[in-house]
Every structure is written in structure tokens, then in C-alpha cells.
């Protein structure tokens, strides 16, 4: 769908063109151009089906439906706190914390559309207030991400469940995925004190750490920081006879060396969480409004299962203006989703990796969510090391990881992938 030869003519003269026939130059063009021919057909159809006029009694019916017990101003004022509470609640649930904080802190002047402001009157309400459906107050970007999340989660469950076999996990020993560097205690640093602590804990069935205690330490100052760090370790759990099981009594020595607190096993990967692009959470309101407005038709396309119109819409979004890194990450994720569905696997990986690369905070869902999909695509294309790298990165930072995901990682190790 590229030809817009007739577009400007149809834009400017919708009715006159249809009733007077096509100018000769355009008539010749549409004989050969399907897109333009279709556009003219649509224009003619719309012009032919002209509506009449409103019923004579419509105004009476409208006036009869108006509430009559209090003034419009009073009704609006009464409704505002309830609406604020509902909006605040829904936005918090939807994850749009920024707008929710504004509402709940008493700042009731939600952003208003530009054209209304241009009327010369200070806007006091969002055009979103015109909606009768409170749920439509939810940020469109969040709705889109929720849609993509749900679709990808379903695929992921189906994929990782294959590693569960017939209801059981593949047997394998536990191994660490993430070890967090401890905080060097200020008092010890000020005193020039170095030392170590040995923590003892249980690796649970889910790969988390529980019941952390100090087995021994060179100084009490190092104990709490060691416990705090150990609680954040993550493991792939032990699986025996097809079931994950806890492993008690796991010990780890944590050394504190001035200028660089180090872990006992330096071959284990350090935790991530440093570097990357800083994402601004303080998205400009107008930018978010514009972003949401452009995403709305894309959300409809997704809900209707029409993927073809999405890419054009996304291209247009990126061309129109500069967006924040997190907004571009959201757009990239949608690209990835669409390409994946259409079987464009390399482009899907490229888009997902771009989304991941834009998120500096590895604890964010936007960072972890695409990783397992990237792993899956690499696996399906025989790139086991890359699949392993992405899957391990996912396991390090995601919450509520399924047992099948660990089984997948085990399988990749059996296929020759190694921890980096």
C-alpha cells in the first residue's frame, strides 16, 4: 500500500469529487492503480450514503435525560474525588505510577488536549474524562505491553513446559546464576578493616535463598552485609527424580577487601545492574499523551489479530518525533512481537535485543520479558550458546520463573553451552 497519487485530491474535495466524477488525469491513473481505485470507491460510497437529519424529538429526549437535582458544576465537583480515586487506583494497577502520584497527591489538573487549550481557556480536565469507561483511563502503552506480555507468556509456558517432560523436571545439580556483591560497611572502610564472612543458607526449590545465617566471620561488621547480599543470590535449583528440591547447608565465603569487596568464587558471574542506558521515568506528560494516542490504533490492530497494519503504524511513530528510551523500548518490543509472529526471526531478535539494550534497570520487567523469547528463537535456530546466555540473563533477573525455564537451561548445557 504505497500509492497516494489521489490522496491529496480526495482529502480536499470529498463531496465535490464524488458527485462530479473524476478529473481526467486521475481517472487514467486509477485504471492502473488498485490502491487509488479502492480509495475512490470508498470515497464514492461514503458520499452516496448520506445521512438524513436528527429526529424532531431528539432534543426533547436529550433534555428529558438530563439530571435535574443539582447543577452541572455541583455534580462535577462531587464526582471529582471519586473519579480521582478510581483513576488513581486504576493507574496504579496499570503501572502508570507517574500519573497516579499526581492524582493522589491532590494535583487534580490532569493533562488536557492541545486543541482545547488553544481555545484560550485553561484546561482543568483531561479529555479522557469524556470516556464513560473508567478502564479507558489506563495508559495505552501499558495496555499494549500487557497484551504482548500475555501473548508471549502463553508461548513461553508452552515452550518451557516441554522441558518438564511428562510432568517431571530433568534431573540436575544446583548451580548459581547470580551472586550479588555485598556493600562494604562504612565503619570498616573508615577503619581500614578487611575481612570475610561465611554465610550458610538453603537453596530453595525455586532457586531462591532462604534461612541465611553466619557460620563464621572475622568481624561482626561484615556479617549483616554478607547476609543481605546472600539473600539476593539466585540459583538454578537441584532436581532429583524429576522434582526440584531444596538444598540446605550451602556455604559461601564472602571476602571484604578494601576498595573492592569480592566474592569467594571469582569465577562466578557478578550481578548485573550496573551500566546500561539510564531510563528517565519522568516522561513528559504531553509526550506520553502523544505516545498513547499513536499507540491506540496499534492496540486495536493487536486485539483484532491484524498484524499487517502494525508495522506501518510503528514506523510512523518513530518517524514523527523523538521518544524516550523506555518508549522506544516499548515500540521495539512490539516490533519484535510482530516479526516473531510473522516468522521474521532475525528481525524479531534484533528488535527484542534493541528493547533490552535500552533498559538500564535490569530489575524492570521490560528488561527481562523479551529475554526468554530471544533465547527461544536462538535455540530454534541451533544457536545454543546465545540461547543459553539470554536464558541465564532472564533467570538472573526475572521473578516467578517456571521450573521449565531451568530445564531449558539444563538442556542447553547438555547441548554444549557454557556459562560465560
Amino acid at each position: 500500500m504505497n500509492c497516494t497519487e489521489v490522496a491529496s485530491v480526495l482529502d480536499e474535495s470529498p463531496v465535490e469529487l464524488s458527485s462530479n466524477g473524476l478529473p481526467r488525469a486521475i481517472a487514467a491513473h486509477v485504471e492502473d492503480c488498485r490502491d487509488c481505485a479502492a480509495a475512490v470507491i470508498a470515497q464514492r460510497g461514503m458520499a452516496a450514503d448520506a445521512p438524513g437529519f436528527a429526529s424532531d424529538d431528539l432534543l426533547d429526549r436529550i433534555l428529558g435525560a438530563l439530571p435535574g437535582d443539582s447543577s452541572a458544576t455541583q455534580r462535577a465537583a462531587k464526582r471529582r474525588p471519586r473519579r480521582l480515586a478510581i483513576v488513581g487506583g486504576i493507574l496504579v494497577l496499570g503501572g502508570a505510577v507517574y500519573a497516579a502520584i499526581r492524582v493522589l497527591s491532590g494535583d487534580a489538573d490532569l493533562p488536557f488536549g492541545e486543541s482545547m487549550v488553544s481555545q484560550g481557556r485553561e484546561a482543568t480536565e483531561s479529555e479522557d474524562d469524556y470516556s464513560t469507561d473508567e478502564s479507558s483511563e489506563q495508559n495505552v502503552a501499558e495496555s499494549l505491553m500487557a497484551f504482548v506480555d500475555a501473548a508471549e507468556a502463553e508461548d513461553q509456558r508452552a515452550f518451557t513446559d516441554t522441558w518438564l517432560g511428562s510432568g517431571s523436571l530433568p534431573d540436575g545439580e544446583y548451580f548459581s546464576l547470580l551472586k550479588v556483591a555485598p556493600r562494604y560497611p562504612d565503619e570498616a572502610a573508615a577503619a581500614g578493616l578487611e575481612g570475610a564472612a561465611v554465610v550458610e543458607f538453603t537453596v530453595t526449590e525455586t532457586g531462591d535463598v532462604a534461612d541465611v545465617t553466619i557460620a563464621e566471620s572475622t568481624h561482626a561488621l561484615f556479617e549483616q552485609p554478607s547476609i543481605d547480599a546472600a539473600r539476593r543470590f539466585k540459583y538454578k535449583p537441584r532436581v532429583a527424580n524429576g522434582s526440584a528440591e531444596p538444598v540446605p547447608g550451602v556455604r559461601n565465603r564472602i571476602a571484604f577487601v578494601l576498595h573492592n569487596a569480592q566474592l569467594a568464587d571469582e569465577n562466578e558471574p557478578e550481578s548485573a545492574g550496573t551500566g546500561g542506558t539510564e531510563d528517565s521515568d519522568s516522561v513528559d506528560e504531553q509526550s506520553q499523551q502523544a505516545f498513547d494516542a499513536l499507540l491506540m490504533p496499534i492496540l486495536e490492530c493487536l486485539q483484532a489479530g491484524n498484524l499487517q497494519c502494525i508495522e506501518l503504524g510503528l514506523d510512523e511513530m518513530l518517524a514523527i518525533r523523538e521518544w524516550t528510551p523506555i518508549q522506544v523500548a516499548q515500540v521495539s518490543r512490539i516490533y519484535g512481537f510482530v516479526h516473531h509472529r510473522q516468522g521474521n526471526y532475525e528481525r524479531a531478535i534484533e528488535a527484542y535485543e534493541r528493547a533490552v539494550g535500552l533498559i538500564g534497570d535490569v530489575s524492570q520487567h521490560y528488561y527481562t520479558a523479551p529475554l526468554m523469547t530471544i533465547a527461544r528463537i536462538h535455540y530454534e535456530r541451533g544457536r545454543y550458546q546465545q540461547a543459553f546466555d539470554a536464558a541465564v540473563e532472564y533467570l538472573k533477573h526475572a521473578s516467578n520463573v517456571s521450573a521449565g525455564a531451568y530445564g531449558f537451561v539444563d538442556e542447553l548445557r547438555r547441548l554444549g553451552a557454557v556459562p560465560r
Partner: protein, 181 residues
Amino acid sequence: MAQDEKNRFAALIEPQLDTLYRAAYRLYRNRADAEDLVQDVCLKAFDRLEQLESVKSKRAWLLRIEYNVFIDQSRRQSRAPLESLDEDSLATGPSWSPESMIEGEQLIIRLADAWPQLMSEQQALLALHSEGYKLAELTEITGLPLGALKARLHRARVRLGKLVHDIEQRQRFAAVSGESK
């Protein structure tokens, strides 16, 4: 006080009713739903009576409410999946020139069949534009930037036209092959 408000409101809204109705009719393509939409819009406008009184372009202000309410209502309604156009089948069909194509009442009927398959935003843009609103007014009503508006309006036209053509071709084939509709 309340009656005074209603009187003020009636004086403001009456000149806009046909405008609102015609746009609503193009959106829903039937009188009952169109008038329901107009009523919903007017109820919202009544709650903002002071704003309605002070706003410069009442028509654009009200149409913007109508546009937003229509989009919201459409999102809430369950929608049939959009039919994907098989470009190959269209390419191999008989050549189609708009001059020789379905005309008049047939075109309206085909268009009514195709209409639900458009996205709600596409319906809204086509409806408002065919009511004679210029692009500058449409940018004010929809809040879309001009470039995006033009691109979407054109895509909506092309999409609708292809759907109409597709329906026409299927019905011709059904007629030729003896299938009942």
C-alpha cells in the same frame, strides 16, 4: 437553577444537533445507535456546561467528545477479527475500474457490509471527512498531527475500498457458481 441550566444548554446544543447526528449516523450507519451516541455526547457536554459556554468552536469541541466516546464504545464492544485481505486473489480477479464498478445502492450495501471490518479510528476518520470536515478541523477533533491524519485517512479509504471490492467479487463468484449467500 437546574431548569435555567437546561434552558441554557438547550440553546447551545440545538444548533449542533444535526451536525452531531450526521457524523454519528456515518459512524453507526443506523438511526437508533446514532441518536444514542448523540445523547451520550450531550450528557457529557451538559456536565461541562461552563466549558461549552466559553469554548470558541462549539462544533469542534462537541465533535471531539463524539469522536472520543465513539472510540471508547467501539473498544468495549466485542469485535469480529479483521478479515485479512488476500492480495493475490485480488490481483488475479477481473480488472476493476471505479467507473465500471458497483454503483449507487449496491455500493452502499457493500459498504455497509465492509464497514464493521474497519478499525474504529478508521471509521471515525472516514465518517467525519465525508461529512465535509477539512483536514485542519479533523486535526482539532481527533488530536492527530496533520501528517499522521492524512496517512491514516488514506489508508482507511484504501482499506474500505478493497473490502468493498472483495465482497463484490465473492458475491459475483457465488452467483456464478450457484452458491447461495
